[in-house]
Point group: C2
Chain length 488, copies 2
């Protein structure tokens, strides 16, 4: 099967590779089908692409040479880091027309300045590696997510990644102080100088963050570091509903700015996680309709200990009736156990059976009502389904799932019902002033829904910018935006 | 003279106005020369433009009608708010080809949500008005600058304004949660929903922030509010050099994140301010080569009082030899007196005689060395000049002045020497990895220098984006970028 999906090189691709061979050397061009195969499919195995070669440049100059050659030969490139896209953003097209441009060999941390809190990191550095490197200089990089062992800095920048610390530190966009990228003609844009103020025209760094490799190839970024954590407190609380949960968060935020995570889940989702994680225990003894995982940190030992602070705040909330019950992790092991439950929610939910999953955001203040109204509306419109959301309440971002009726034919349901449900929920999100992609991006999965829902003004601007920055259409074609019709 | 600079309407302009008259009503079109005159020149009287009419729409729909008509008739528009640009960004071209689009009647604060810390504000709202409105709901908008009584939100967004609180809160870009704008075809882009996470393609909000009205007309913005200030501490310190000043700031920042301002000035600049502000007194008794104005704030009464904290930190710095002397303002009146000195530096410097003034930034860590090396280099290269910088050390942003030799012919010096000095200093900034515009923008003043210094990759991207978003070239033509040569 691997052989069957490996296309022959087109003449343009062959000419391009011949030109690049002396530049890239033997390590720089991979054409072995078995080596290529794992990179032709996304990790959730939803999209299968094809490509005759992977290009693996060692530095920015080699990336520039590749893009310049691709432009000359009109050969599309699909940039790839850890291949952990949730939306098929790094899977090449199935027709074999594109070559994969792997950034994984650009794996140097060029500099790390603890005093200034800045580090220049190449695109291929794995998130976990960078997290660890920051700790060794007494700092931390305050972004983490499930795929931290494979996701790379280039991919995280190009998808404006989120995670569980966005509440305090923002998404990747807020942590990027500058970008280095190869533009579609092979020229190198150097925005790495970390200037706190820079009004030299349109912000190209922000334009490249979240562009999913369709406007340029991010080769490095200057990233902001935060003070290392001296202590953390992790709490679990039971509340009656999302409205109360948000009121609790607001009351905390009036008192402190050290809340890093504020994650919400309904009882059934927690039950699924408890069933899924062997040896796990429910953090609270009684039954509660909604559960919260809360983390606060302190950067210095002088500050109020985060666990004591959470105890004080939750004590007041218990007395005031905002929470039904709460507990503070008494050890790092217990804190880790709480987080293991949270981190297993996606897998646990998947184990519950077929479901359509959404990564959506609405304004924070309206999220509690949206969660309940959207669930009711979906269950009413699609009888037998079971809908609920969990996730980053403080960011107005939840992962909303509509589970299939019991006993349904899985394949038929995915093929026929799921698309209808998708459009229905997206319309609800749009009506609430929200976004159909909070943190996963558009890729190929949400491309047509974006085009269906976005305002004409937004779509025209996106397409005009794509055409301006990549007039030949060689950068990750078909992702985020459909290619222009021929003749345009 | 006013009559002489008021051009006749071109036939395209006349047709456009005839079409718009019923839409805008009598208040919406101003053709009286005396009323127009003040808006044809920048406030520093460096650029004189000409225009036969000012359009003053009352709402976003009217702005959209104006831009659509301008596109149909190919009539350029120059957006204007408070007309407080430092770089001629809001002055129409001298040939009378453009109409002024004044946003001042879009002056509503559409909503203000203290709990969420968000406010939707129209482009024509004056900064001071908005500062005051935030205070009435127990919040504050943490951006202020000298022109706060005239600068408007639309202009502040479009120029990514800075000021003296950037150290803690960032520039306008960091305070903008979303933008509403009319694009070049008259369509309305609505990005006002304040989503903490939104990965729906290229970030159009960030693209419009700082675009100086060349990509779209910002009609409103969703702005972030900060907690109101419960108490502030203001200190003045004398130090030996900028390196020590930065070391002092870093030591403070290891202890606290409440430092909002950290302004530096050399002794001669302070002397000029003392001479300029009647009744002012030197904050410290002895002589010091460099002076610092430092402000810290607290949002709650529970927190350590900022004045006491500054006293503690400065006491330790005195003991450690980082500062030579320091004093804490003992009253609001004294704090205001310190700030009055700081706010008068620009005027005081102007009173010292002819000078070329620069608004530049380099990476924070390199600013101390840059300040001294650039001053030495300029004085050596241009004998008789006197060069120094003052301003936002913690942002890596100073206002750097090269004063003319004594007794020089003012007009000749500005005409012949100033351009050479400008290029010399800009080259130093560029070599240091800095920017020739930290907070003032490009406008017409720095347009050709941007084109001279910026990398080909940056310039090509800027021009491609401009062409994509404003293909007819009707939005603030000639600002930021030169219009494309005819035939392109």
């Amino acid at each position: 099967m691997i052989g069957a999906t490996t296309p022959q090189l087109t003449s343009a691709q062959a000419a391009m590779l011949a030109e690049l061979a002396p530049v890239l050397g033997p390590k720089g061009i991979v054409t072995d089908a078995a080596t290529i195969a794992p990179w032709l499919q996304d990790w959730r195995k939803r999209w299968q692409g094809a490509s005759p070669a992977i290009l693996t440049p060692a530095n920015t100059a080699e990336v520039a040479a590749i893009v310049a050659a691709a432009a000359r030969h009109r050969v599309p490139l699909v940039a790839q880091g850890g291949n952990s896209s949730m939306v098929g953003g790094a899977t090449p097209p199935a027709d074999g027309s594109a070559l994969i441009l792997s950034l994984r060999r650009l794996d140097r941390i060029r500099s790390i300045d603890a005093e200034a809190g800045l580090s220049v990191v190449e695109a291929g550095v794995v998130l976990q590696t960078f997290n660890d490197a920051a700790l060794t200089v007494g700092r931390r990089f305050p972004l983490t997510l499930g795929a931290r062992g494979s996701a790379t800095i280039g991919g995280l920048v190009s998808t404006n990644a989120g995670g569980t610390q966005v509440l305090r530190f923002g998404t990747m966009r807020g942590l990027v102080a500058g970008v280095e990228a190869v533009l579609a003609d092979g020229s190198i844009y150097d925005g790495l100088a970390a200037l706190k103020k820079d009004n030299r025209g349109y912000d190209l760094d922000h334009l490249l963050v979240g562009a999913e490799g369709t406007l340029g190839i991010v080769t490095a970024a200057t990233l902001r570091l935060a003070p290392a954590v001296a202590a953390r407190g992790v709490a679990w609380a039971g509340v009656s509903d999302p409205q109360t949960a948000l009121a609790l968060l607001r009351s905390f935020q009036r008192d402190t700015d050290t809340i890093e995570s504020f994650e919400i889940m309904p009882a059934a989702t927690l039950d699924a996680a408890l069933a899924h994680v062997s040896g796990s225990r429910a953090p609270l003894q009684g039954r509660h309709r909604w559960h919260l995982l809360i983390e606060a940190t302190a950067a210095t030992d002088d500050a109020e200990a985060p666990a004591a602070m959470l105890e004080r705040l939750l004590g007041a909330a218990l007395a005031g009736g905002l929470v039904e019950d709460a507990t503070i992790a008494v050890s790092e092991a217990q804190a880790e156990a709480f987080w293991r439950l949270r981190d297993s929610l996606s897998d646990a939910e998947r184990a519950r059976g077929p479901a359509v999953q959404f990564d959506i955001a609405v304004p924070v203040a309206t999220m509690p009502a949206f969660m309940q109204q959207a669930a009711s509306a979906a269950e009413h419109r699609f009888p037998g389904t079971d809908a609920s959301g969990f996730g980053h309440l403080g960011d107005g971002n939840i992962h909303f799932h509509v589970r299939a009726p019991e006993g349904v034919d899985r394949d038929r349901w995915y093929a026929e019902d799921a698309p209808v449900i998708t459009r229905f929920v997206h319309d609800l999100v749009d009506a609430a002033g929200g976004t159909i992609s909070a943190e996963h991006g558009i890729g190929q999965m949400k491309r047509d829904e974006l085009a269906r829902i976005a305002s004409p003004a937004r779509m025209m601007a996106l397409m005009a910018i794509k055409q301006a920055m990549d007039p030949l259409g060689i950068l990750n074609p078909g992702k985020l935006l459909a290619p222009p019709a021929r003749g345009q």
